[in-house]
Subunit: 170 residues, 2 copies
DNA sequence: TATTGTTATACTCTATAACTATA
DNA sequence: TATAGTTATAGAGTATAACAATA
């Protein structure tokens, strides 16, 4: 007997029931993308979370901490530590809002802008690598389909029509 | 974190840099799919991991624990607990391999088969809900694109041509 | 009393590696 | 010595809630 070219001689195969599920692939691929990103960001000393925070600050400065957390869907307690780290590296500054001293105004420094530029380049490279097997039209198609799912499942993501772009975070 | 369900009403918007990234959407959608699955499986008293294990046993019985772990990419230590729980519920049986008493042969019981059928129905419903916004042709397109990415990033998943299917796990 | 930011606590996952019994 | 399974431990990540300052 010989199953000859039966798939995956060495690797015990995943049940077809799993491998043929779209949501299964989505989960595993999302996890793989996250892992690759974490590893790459490690070398920068920053986390994708930091990139996400800087990206928010770049779109509209003078943000309050609550607004940043809400924009990203992060917990406010979690954000404190991220901002501490960004502040320690001189990438952002916090100052009390004089009109409401409970609030902190957060703004990006010049060094922060430079760091963001580097993180963007890193993210572009990562995205490009991850999608390497797809041509331009396939990438556009995939993006459109995922956006449609996002409309349904990520109410947080408000979409206008946008071109290509690339990003960090988890 | 909870990238979950924050309502979109007055929500400060996510930076376009993030929202327009395909890998970002992949990560968040994968996370959302996982969350939905976990919540739904909770009511069954079983975890998607349990479903995955049963699915392996259904394809080829008499599996050894190491083979099951390898097939799913799980750690062997992690698998022990999962099998303990399945055994406690009478869904699987373990018995020592007489020819090598270090090995355990694991097989699914009749109750296990019934449980698997229910989990499959649950998974089908979940997948259908998750893809609700896509028509048949879009679903096929998405699945094909994800499979292409899986070829690149999930060497674990060996694909033959398959029809539609649905699955659990994370 | 409610809210902003902060801190502390607890819980879930997972990865590592020690341990046993067989080989 | 090496391997299959088991158990125990430690660490990261995250969610919860208590807390202080201000409104």
């Amino acid at each position: 007997m010989t199953t000859g070219t039966s798939p995956a001689a060495s690797t015990p195969r995943l049940p077809a029931e799993l491998a043929s599920s779209t949501t299964f692939l989505l989960k595993r691929l999302g996890f793989a993308a996250k892992e690759q990103a974490l590893e790459a960001y490690d070398q920068t000393g920053l986390h994708p979370y930091h990139h996400a925070v800087l990206a928010v600050l770049d779109e509209g400065s003078r943000e309050t901490q609550g607004a940043i957390a809400d924009a990203l869907g992060y917990d406010r307690g979690q954000l404190v530590g991220l901002l501490d780290e960004l502040e320690d590296r001189g990438l952002i500054e916090r100052k009390r809002d004089p009109s409401d001293r409970r609030r902190q105004s957060v703004r990006m420094t010049a060094d922060g802008k430079r760091a963001l530029a580097k993180l963007r380049a890193l993210a572009v490279g990562l995205e490009n690598d991850f999608l390497a097997n797809l041509d331009e039209s396939q990438r556009a198609s995939l993006h459109g389909l995922l956006r449609e799912l996002a409309r349904q499942h990520l109410p947080h993501c408000v979409f206008r029509q946008d071109g290509a772009a690339v990003a960090a975070d988890g």
